[in-house]
């Protein structure tokens, strides 16, 4: 069996195809930022998580430090338990608080971490004590409307 010119074209085509797939996976997708980094798991309970989804970003001071790895419902406290995987490169004090925030008015929801002042750092499996739930727009609007209605009644 001899090598022929067709082989080099087919080889180049297959290589280009895989290069295209690699480009999609690394540059367009986010494979690189994930598989390489070590993470540790932290949990937090929220009364209401709004529209928070698995894989939503966790930000501290605006920098993405991890992703939401799991959202489940606790049957005893009737609260949502959210698991965070935080990049091992970022250490937070034990009294760090977590808030569910929205990027922009109607953007996606993410978790904001605010570092506390404790000297002991969070470790794998810890639970955050201080949490603040998502702001649900409907509740806010109905509260506003009720307040307005009550004001109107008082004025008369």
């Amino acid at each position: 069996m001899k090598r022929s010119t067709i082989d080099i074209w087919v080889g180049a085509f297959v290589a280009a195809g895989f290069a295209g797939l690699l480009f999609l996976a690394l540059k367009v997708g986010n494979l690189a930022s994930f598989s390489t980094s070590q993470t540790y798991q932290v949990e937090a309970k929220f009364a209401n998580i709004g529209g928070l989804k698995v894989r939503a970003p966790i930000k501290s001071a605006g920098v993405v430090v991890g992703r939401v790895s799991d959202v489940r419902f606790d049957n005893e406290s009737y609260e949502a338990v959210v698991s965070f995987s935080i990049d091992a490169g970022y250490q937070f004090p034990r009294d760090t608080s977590a808030k569910i925030l929205t990027s922009g008015l109607l953007g996606e929801q993410y978790v904001g971490l605010e570092a506390g002042g404790d000297g002991v750092m969070l470790k794998n499996g810890d639970r955050l004590r201080l949490t603040q739930s998502a702001v649900v727009l409907e509740n806010l609007i109905s509260q506003f409307l009720f307040n307005k209605a009550a004001e109107g009644k008082d004025g008369k």
């Binding site: 195809g17 797939l21 540059k27 367009v28 997708g29 986010n30």
Partner: protein, 272 residues
């Protein structure tokens, strides 16, 4: 006598309808058996590695130009149109997401599949049909060479291998085209373009599903192409009819399969 004519016409019509349906089902069964036969005899095709490589050259490498150029233009059009709509809502930075997701999930596999069906599928059908018309296939059988292992299976596998690679190249050049128009021409921020894209394109949910789609389309298109060629009446008219049927049937198959696959893949994923 006057009453006889319409009832005779009706009977004739019913007969033709029944014959049409039975022959369609017959062909479908034959196509299914043919597919299994290809799978069973593909060992021989890969044993002689030169055969599929030669067919990848014809089906894949020679389709590269049309795939790359169309991918580039589709991406550029997406960049222009997407920018026009997004900037009304003040979110032109999301252009990267729009271009990447629409290419990786839908347009890459589907448009590359349609182009592949008309560029490579029709060529496969015409080639096999002509081999049959000029009795080369019968001659192979006379020499105890299995034409399915020698002619059909290498072409089938070449199409199945080429299609995902072509779709990936289509998406990649399309995203590059969107980048050229969006970032270089219009002036969307380059960092936002790439980072928003990377934040919302998921490797497993979006890219891998796109690859699976293109693989399924590759199987469907090449299966239809080799079957139509093998089943073509051995005349000039028969081969031309079979080539047309390949393009029409495989385009319809791609669009229908795309709907089914999208329903399976993306509705479940988005519900989370």
């Amino acid at each position: 006598m006057a009453e006889q004519a319409p009832s005779g016409g009706l009977r004739h019509g019913l007969e033709r309808l029944g014959h049409g349906i039975t022959s369609k089902i017959w062909r479908l069964g034959f196509a299914a058996r043919f597919f299994l036969y290809i799978l069973l005899h593909s060992g021989t095709a890969f044993g002689r590695f030169r055969l599929p490589v030669r067919e990848i050259y014809f089906a894949g490498v020679l389709s590269l130009i049309i795939i790359l150029v169309s991918g580039l233009f589709v991406g550029m059009v997406l960049g222009l149109q997407g920018y026009d709509t997004l900037q009304r809502y003040g979110s032109s930075e999301a252009l990267g997401i729009l271009v990447a997701l629409s290419l990786v999930r839908e347009l890459g596999p589907v448009v590359a599949g349609l182009l592949f069906a008309s560029r490579a599928g029709s060529a496969i059908t015409a080639e096999i049909g002509l081999m049959k018309a000029t009795e080369q296939i019968a001659a192979m059988e006379m020499m105890a060479v299995d034409p399915i292992a020698r002619v059909i299976a290498p072409r089938f596998w070449a199409g199945v291998i080429s299609m995902p690679l072509l779709a990936a190249l289509f998406s990649a050049t399309g995203i590059f085209g969107g980048y050229l128009v969006g970032v270089q021409l219009i002036g969307v921020d380059e960092g936002a373009f790439w980072s928003q894209m990377q934040a919302s394109v998921d490797v497993r949910n979006d890219i891998l599903n796109g690859v699976i789609k293109s693989l399924v389309f590759g199987v469907a298109v090449t299966w239809i192409a080799v079957f139509e060629g093998y089943d073509a009446p051995p005349t000039a008219e028969g081969v031309s009819g079979a080539t047309t049927r390949t393009v029409v049937t495989s385009s319809l198959a791609i669009l229908a399969l795309d709907f089914v696959l999208t329903a399976l893949m993306f509705t479940g994923g988005n519900a989370r």
